[in-house]
């Protein structure tokens, strides 16, 4: 049922104006609305799929969040949580390596790979340019981005990382 929203939106998007972007402004706005709605519905499907793959499907408190504004360095989920898991999904049919950039509010974070032994991942804090922070309508307090490399995500597969608002030393001390 949730996928039907996407199917219908993709049906509408076959129109030549949608493909080439030659539609009128009001129509463009409507296309954006259709796609946004479809993506919100897809969030529930993704949530179920990630729950199944991670073995946490029966945990009622597991919730998956999509960050649709990462292109403007904004993500309410990574900004508001002090400890969270990041799932990286590869939609391609062969393995890829990529860099993850997560907008955050503070200066000190750690990243652990949950794919093997929970090892600390090399990461870097990078400031978000001031002009990006001032984009009109950007509702975000993030001033930095946590950047790390994700090696060899399997074809159509996932990798899991834990991110905590604690330094590596603090985590080691607690453990």
């Amino acid at each position: 049922e949730h996928l039907d929203h996407f199917r219908e939106a993709m049906g509408v998007m076959q129109h030549h104006d949608a493909v080439t972007g030659t539609e009128k402004q009001l129509v463009a706005n409507d296309y954006a609305r259709l796609l946004y709605k479809s993506m919100s519905h897809a969030g529930e499907m993704i949530s179920e799929a990630v729950g199944k793959w991670s073995g946490l499907a029966n945990e009622p408190s597991v919730k998956v969040f999509t960050c649709l504004e990462l292109n403007i360095s904004s993500c309410a989920f990574s900004e508001q949580n002090d400890m969270f898991i990041v799932v990286v999904y590869n939609p391609l049919s062969r393995p890829v390596s990529t860099y993850v950039r997560l907008p955050v509010k503070e200066n000190s974070y750690s990243v652990l790979s949950l794919n093997d032994d929970g090892l600390f991942q090399d990461m870097q804090m990078v400031p978000i340019p001031e002009r990006v922070q001032k984009i009109p309508g950007r509702l975000s307090n993030a001033v930095n981005e946590v950047v790390f490399r994700v090696e060899n995500i399997p074809a159509l597969g996932l990798k899991f990382y834990a991110v905590a608002k604690q330094s590596r030393e603090e985590i080691i001390e607690q453990s």
């Binding site: 080439t20 972007g21 030659t22 539609e23 009128k24 402004q25 993704i46 990630v50 991670s54 946490l56 945990e59 408190s61 597991v62 919730k63 998956v64 969040f65 999509t66 960050c67 990462l70 292109n71 403007i72 993500c75 989920f77 949580n81 400890m83 898991i85 990041v86 799932v87 990286v88 999904y89 590869n90 939609p91 391609l92 890829v96 390596s97 990529t98 860099y99 993850v100 652990l112 929970g118 090399d122 990461m123 870097q124 990078v126 400031p127 340019p129 002009r131 984009i135 009109p136 309508g137 950047v147 490399r149 994700v150 899991f160 834990a162 905590a164 604690q166 985590i171 607690q174 453990s175």
Partner: protein, 252 residues
């Protein structure tokens, strides 16, 4: 009167309170200029090195290189394009190189094969362009390339969204990244391309990958480019998972 100034019959040059140099034309009251120094913020680290490059109040970019990648990433940010001067603007970013390209460049055909484009030329008729810039613009869905056949060098720009692109000078490629036009172009839509949000012109942010070098093995080079283009178009999804955990050990 500023303490520090020099002047001649033509110019009056002084330094204002902000430390900027002001040049005034004595014979043209309405002409002046400010010369100032700026700096680009840089960030260096083991994962990424980046340069924050501000061009003006509405154009800036972050240029990134990664030790484990062969491309350069240009993360451009354009807007809101000012329109108070009543001039519609189409913003392009141009990559100019020293390659000898003999009027030839290549653009992809909706992400499929690369099509050869020749500046001011159409293969089936004698061309006389009334609009020499737009007449040489082609759709670029994922890649625009130029080649120096003699040196066997190739330069490609991969884009994250469909844009218009061209090579208006030898060795250069350009892509149109944003526009704000105040009049309809009379090609059918019957409205000006003037999107606004929050009472201002739209701000657009996007990415270009610049990839180039010696083409020793064509197959290998093309494969690398294809992989990069796919990675940009179908970027891995980043999802957040929340759960009732209270420590990192629990999370593990």
């Amino acid at each position: 009167e500023p303490a520090e100034f020099i002047s001649s019959e033509l110019y009056n040059i002084s330094i204002n309170d902000d430390g900027n140099l002001i040049v005034r034309w004595n014979k043209q009251n309405n002409m002046n200029l400010v010369q100032s120094f700026h700096f680009y913020e840089g960030a260096e680290g083991p994962i990424v090195e980046e340069l924050h490059h501000t061009i003006n109040e509405w154009v800036s970019q972050v240029v990134r290189i990664y030790p484990e990648e062969e491309h350069i990433e240009f993360d451009w940010l354009v807007g809101p394009i000012p329109a108070k001067d009543k001039v519609g603007k189409e913003i392009v970013t141009r990559y100019s190189s020293n390659l000898k390209t003999d009027n030839v460049f290549y653009t992809d055909s909706n992400g499929r094969e690369m099509l050869k484009r020749v500046r001011n030329y159409r293969p089936t008729w004698d061309l006389e362009l009334k609009e020499p810039i737009s007449g040489n613009y082609y759709p670029v869905t994922s890649k625009i390339s130029i080649k120096d056949e003699e040196k066997q060098l190739k330069l490609s720009v991969l884009n994250d969204r469909a844009q218009g692109g061209s090579s208006l000078q030898d060795g250069a490629v350009e892509l149109m990244i944003h526009r704000r036009l105040l009049k309809d172009d009379a090609f059918g839509v019957n409205e000006a391309l003037n999107e606004t949000a929050f009472g201002e012109g739209l701000v657009a942010r996007g990415t270009h990958y610049l990839f180039g070098g010696k083409v020793k093995n064509v197959d290998k080079f093309v494969l690398k480019e294809k992989e990069l283009a796919l990675k940009l178009a179908l970027h891995p999804w980043i999802l957040g998972v929340s759960f009732d955990w209270n420590s990192i050990d629990n999370m593990r």
